[in-house]
């Protein structure tokens, strides 16, 4: 009964989102079609906006990559038998899971210098990289919890069974536990990625040239109300087109991996 109902419910939930989007797109097209000057102006600024959005994607990928790497380590530490390993990881996760992303981005901006000296060479330490760290910190804390939960959700009897056929701890983790974690952890991990991507817009507040910053530049330069509205609509659309498929895919995966 529930399996038959699910796709229908999925489509029903999907329906309004696409319907609203189609309506908004049609409205925009009509508006732009009627106003050729606005359209030309938007097209002129499009490459500039696109270069901003590339920065958002770059920040999100790097923050999530770093956060995932650190988070797997932290998640494993949280499950360590040794208190010395466990305590710092638990503290880190609890502190940074409950810290606003914007605060962390500001903190990173002011804590790190604008350049670092490596063997006598001055290397610039750009703001966008600081934003990467600002977002990697909460990402790592969330990933740690996802990893910890996934490993714990695998019954300990799986460890016994693997040991029983002569596997070491590392082999058990690699061949038996982590493959089972992967399918459980993938949906929440993708959710987190979408959320981190949306948070990259916060980097505009510390002067990083990303999409929101570019949109503000454009609207200040053009100084026309209709253009300002259109440009921010495009910002929304860009984030939506990037994040919505991720959340759709996540829901599909969640359904596929749901315990039968």
């Amino acid at each position: 009964m529930s399996t038959a109902a699910l796709p229908v419910r999925g489509r029903a939930a999907l329906g309004p989102a696409w319907a609203w989007l189609a309506l908004a797109a049609a409205g925009c097209l009509l508006w732009f079609g009627l106003d050729a000057r606005l359209t030309r102006e938007l097209l002129d600024w499009l490459p500039y906006l696109a270069s901003g959005f590339v920065m958002n994607i770059l920040i999100s990928v790097l923050a999530m990559g770093t956060g995932t790497f650190a988070g797997i380590t932290l998640g494993a530490m949280e499950l360590s038998a040794s208190r010395l390993m466990r305590a710092p990881a638990v503290a880190y996760v609890q502190v940074f899971r409950n810290a606003p992303h914007l605060v962390l981005i500001f903190a990173m901006t002011y804590i790190f210098p604008f350049e670092i000296v490596v063997a006598g060479n001055y290397l610039p330490f750009p703001d966008w990289l600081k934003a990467v760290f600002g977002l990697a910190i909460p990402a790592s804390a969330y990933v740690a919890e996802i990893v910890r939960g996934a490993i714990q959700s695998v019954p300990t009897t799986q460890w016994d069974a693997a040991k029983g056929v002569g596997m070491s701890r590392g082999q058990t983790l690699r061949w038996i536990i982590l493959p089972q974690c992967l399918r459980r952890a993938l949906p929440p991990w993708m959710n987190l990625y979408a959320s981190i991507t949306m948070s990259t817009a916060l980097a505009s507040l510390v002067g990083v040239h990303e999409l929101l910053h570019a949109a503000t530049d454009a609207s200040t330069a053009v100084r026309r109300d209709d253009f300002t509205i259109a440009v921010y609509l495009m910002v929304l659309l860009a984030f939506f087109l990037f994040c919505y498929p991720i959340s759709r895919l996540t829901r599909r995966l969640e359904r596929r991996f749901a315990p039968r």
Binding site: T157, A161, K163, G164, V165, G166, R169, Q171, W175, P179
Partner: protein, 264 residues
Amino acid sequence: MAQELTPRPILVELRDVHLSFGAAEVLKGIDLTVAKGDAVSIIGPSGSGKSTILRCINGLAQPKAGRITVAGTRVDTLRTEAERIALRKRIGIVFQQYNLFPHLTVLENITIAPTRILKVPRAEAEALARDLLARVRLADKVSAYPGELSGGQQQRVAIARALAMRPELVLFDEVTSALDPEMVGEVLAVIRELVRDGLTSILVTHEMRFAEEISDTIAFTENGRIVAQAAPAELFYRSGNPRIRQFIGGFQGYRDAVQDREGI
């Protein structure tokens, strides 16, 4: 058995094995001897340490005191993980809850350890796996996932998985306790055949009739001790220990049988 002239070599020997979990003393001096080719059943009330004995034999649990020898290896003195792994490669274990790897197919469940741990060539490991699956009557389930099988089928795959390592000894830990009654028979039939073919095995079980039928020796445990250890007929019908008679009598069918023989 009577016609054997030389006694078979001893494969497993436990001497005065003690084990505690925290303050709880689980094993209070276990002595057990299993000869090569023997089937030994361990019976007794729940919580008497039956499964713990098995876990000590393959190094999943570490005794506090006592001596455990398996095929010349002193299990109780093993300190490193590598030493325990070397031991476990030679001992198969089958669990109550089957514990198959749910992300692997039946064939992969059986071949993962031989190919990756023993480095058996894939073709050879798969051929053996198919033989074993035929033996446990699941030849048609090669590419099924554990989730698609019944409990009895999963348990038979688990037996094939243990046998794929070509163990010298297989431990069966209450392998039918989690099964629906109608699936118990198919699993026991497989074990019966293996024992008949000379597999050395130690079984923790609540299947009294089965234990009586296939065992060379039955050990009765209570409160962390082996209270009695004897041939099935001896233990079931001629034991002077009232506790054993009461325990066995509690299983339907035996009450009548015991009374019948007493009447003679």
